[in-house]
């Protein structure tokens, strides 16, 4: 081995004095270059200024990059170490949602509901209840079937429960926590959430069924416009033309058919996070849900007032199913004209209730 390398080394090296001279020259040149380059770098270091260092050092993070982060944008090469995360770095719409909810929806929702209650109270004290103008004839007309009444009261109970639990979730913390203490408040708000989340879908399904079964009676007619122009005859003695449903009932129907459905749909988005909808979707669903629901709650107070305290003879239609002939004549004259031959006396009604005549269907034009 040793002999082999010994013999090979000279063969590689250049031979003769000329080559030695050449090598020496190269060495000198290299030394000169080295010294020169050292001098140059030394000068460069001495002249270094912050501006230059910033541009030559590893790229820093620029304000533009932070602006991009703040905007909530994510590029294709965005990575998140969290398992199955679909979140960007900054949830830019969170603050918008917070402002909309806290500064607009909650105070103005309260104002809408409170204002409606105050207006109704004022109306009641100034104008008062609408009594029947003529004495009751004692003859009855079937207005709501048992099925419709059951449906109405189930939906109504669910609506009130959802409204109260929803209001508790939005505004309860300002009242009940200080009033009752943490233990009771914790129980209250947890119960509110569970009731709201589990009863909501039932309400949604039943609302759709109710809307479908009442659509025929709620198709807008020309006389409904007149009804509105005359304020539904709520003030004064005059009566306005109305079919089975008057203009106000139709307005309430179509409000439920539009805003109500919107509230139900957005509620489903919020109630089923298992479909992996993002934060942004749920923020908007929440705002739509809250605005719609608060509006409906405010208007529902009007519906409740007119149906109970506000009008003599209206509530019995939805409790017993039957209304008095006079009531029908005064409030739904067009319907009355169509079905006036179907009236029954109170004795007949009592017999019908005691007997087994099956389930009668509401008086409808034949």
């Amino acid at each position: 081995m040793t002999t082999l390398t010994m013999t090979k080394v000279p063969s590689r090296a250049p031979s003769g004095t000329a080559s030695w001279l050449q090598r020496g020259w190269r060495l000198c040149l290299m030394l000169v270059l080295l010294v020169a380059s050292l001098g140059v770098t030394h000068m460069a270091v001495a002249q270094a200024d912050p501006d230059r260092e910033m541009t030559t050092a590893a790229p820093g993070i620029t304000a533009d990059q932070w602006r991009q982060v703040r905007s909530g944008e994510t590029g294709p090469n965005y990575r998140d170490s969290r398992h199955e995360s679909n979140y960007n770095l900054i949830n830019a719409s969170g603050e918008t949602w917070r402002i909309l909810r806290n500064r607009w929806v909650s105070p103005f929702g309260l104002i809408a509901i409170g204002g409606m209650a105050a207006m109704i109270a004022l109306f009641y004290f100034i104008v008062g209840r609408k009594y029947l103008e003529e004495p009751r004839t004692g003859r009855k007309l079937l207005r709501w079937s048992l099925l419709m009444r059951a449906l109405h009261w189930t939906v109504a109970t669910l609506f009130i429960t959802l409204a109260l639990t929803g209001l508790n979730l939005l505004l309860g913390k300002f009242v009940f926590r200080t009033l009752f203490g943490d233990a009771v408040w914790g129980w209250m708000v947890a119960a509110s959430k569970v009731l709201h989340n589990y009863l909501g879908p039932i309400f949604g399904v039943l609302l759709v069924i109710m809307l479908i079964s009442l659509i025929k009676e709620n198709i807008p007619k020309k006389h409904d416009w007149v009804w509105f122009k005359k304020g539904g005859g709520m003030i004064g003695k005059g009566h306005v033309d109305a079919g089975f449903c008057n203009g106000g009932e139709k307005a309430w129907y179509w409000l439920l058919a539009s805003v109500g459905i919107l509230v139900v749909a957005s509620g489903f988005v919020l109630d089923f996070p298992n479909f992996d909808q993002g934060r942004d979707t749920m923020q908007w669903a929440n705002i739509i849900h809250a605005v719609g629901a608060l509006g409906l709650t405010a208007v529902s107070l009007g519906h409740i007032y007119i149906g109970t305290l506000g009008t003599e003879g209206a509530l019995e239609g939805m409790t017993t199913g039957y209304v008095d002939e006079t009531w029908a004549k005064e409030h739904h004259n067009l319907w009355y004209e169509e079905v006036k031959d179907q009236t029954i006396s109170e004795e007949e009604l009592a017999a019908r209730k005691a007997g087994d005549s099956g389930t009668p269907s509401p008086a409808k034009p034949s």
Binding site: P50, A58, G75, N77, S81, S85, N88, R101, R177, F272
Partner: protein
């Protein structure tokens, strides 16, 4: 009283996920929940940057403002904590949080999310006993005079935790060292290079 803050120096973060691991270990966090995450922007490109994020313990915390049960509170050290006994898992804190900090153990139908969990700045939470506190919220290192483990473990000291003033001072020194003009106080060309007391509000 201190104002506790996290700060991640994105020019130092090397996306090792040590903070994530340290946090999970220190707080025995539930399976599926990761209180801290590391986000990488422009991964694989020349301007790639990583940053470790968790609850930033905001001064004006959006979670606190929107919580229907009012379960959040701020400690004297400026740490945002929450009471899991009051939490109903509605998810509103998650909608509002700028940093995606609140997480839920479940994501089931009828809004069944379980109790929200988030970074506590290693300061535990409200509980009767120490065991209960650990089981619900993880360790309370602040009570032991220690800083959050994520920042303590950070290998490049990219992640800083502590009083806002101290964290800011450390970071400013770094920025100055990196060669920012104006002593890192501003980008204002009027500010002189050496005047660290430059007041941007005062003209001239």
């Amino acid at each position: 009283m201190a104002q506790m803050k996290f700060m991640c120096d994105a020019e130092r973060c090397i996306e090792c996920n040590g903070c994530v691991t340290a946090c999970k270990n220190a707080n025995d966090v539930e399976w599926g929940i990761q209180r801290r995450r590391v986000v990488t922007l422009n991964d694989g490109e020349a301007d790639e940057m990583s940053i470790s994020v968790a609850c930033m313990h905001c001064d004006d915390a959006p979670c606190m403002a929107v919580c229907p049960t009012d379960c959040f509170y701020k400690t004297d050290d400026g740490i945002v904590l929450h009471d899991k006994d009051l939490c109903i898992g509605c998810g509103y804190c998650l909608y509002a949080c700028p940093f995606g900090a609140p997480q839920f153990p479940q994501q089931d139908a009828f809004g069944e999310r379980g109790k929200m969990d988030k970074c506590t700045f290693c300061a535990g939470g409200p509980a009767e006993t120490k065991e209960e506190e650990y089981q619900k919220y993880g360790s309370n290192r602040i009570a032991e005079g220690k800083l959050p483990l994520c920042a303590e473990m950070c290998s490049t000291k990219a992640l800083l935790a502590g009083d806002a003033q101290d964290v800011a001072d450390i970071f400013r020194q770094r920025v100055v060292h990196r060669g920012h003009k104006d002593g890192a106080w501003s980008n204002n060309p009027q500010a002189s290079t050496d005047n660290l007391a430059y007041d941007a509000a005062r003209k001239g």
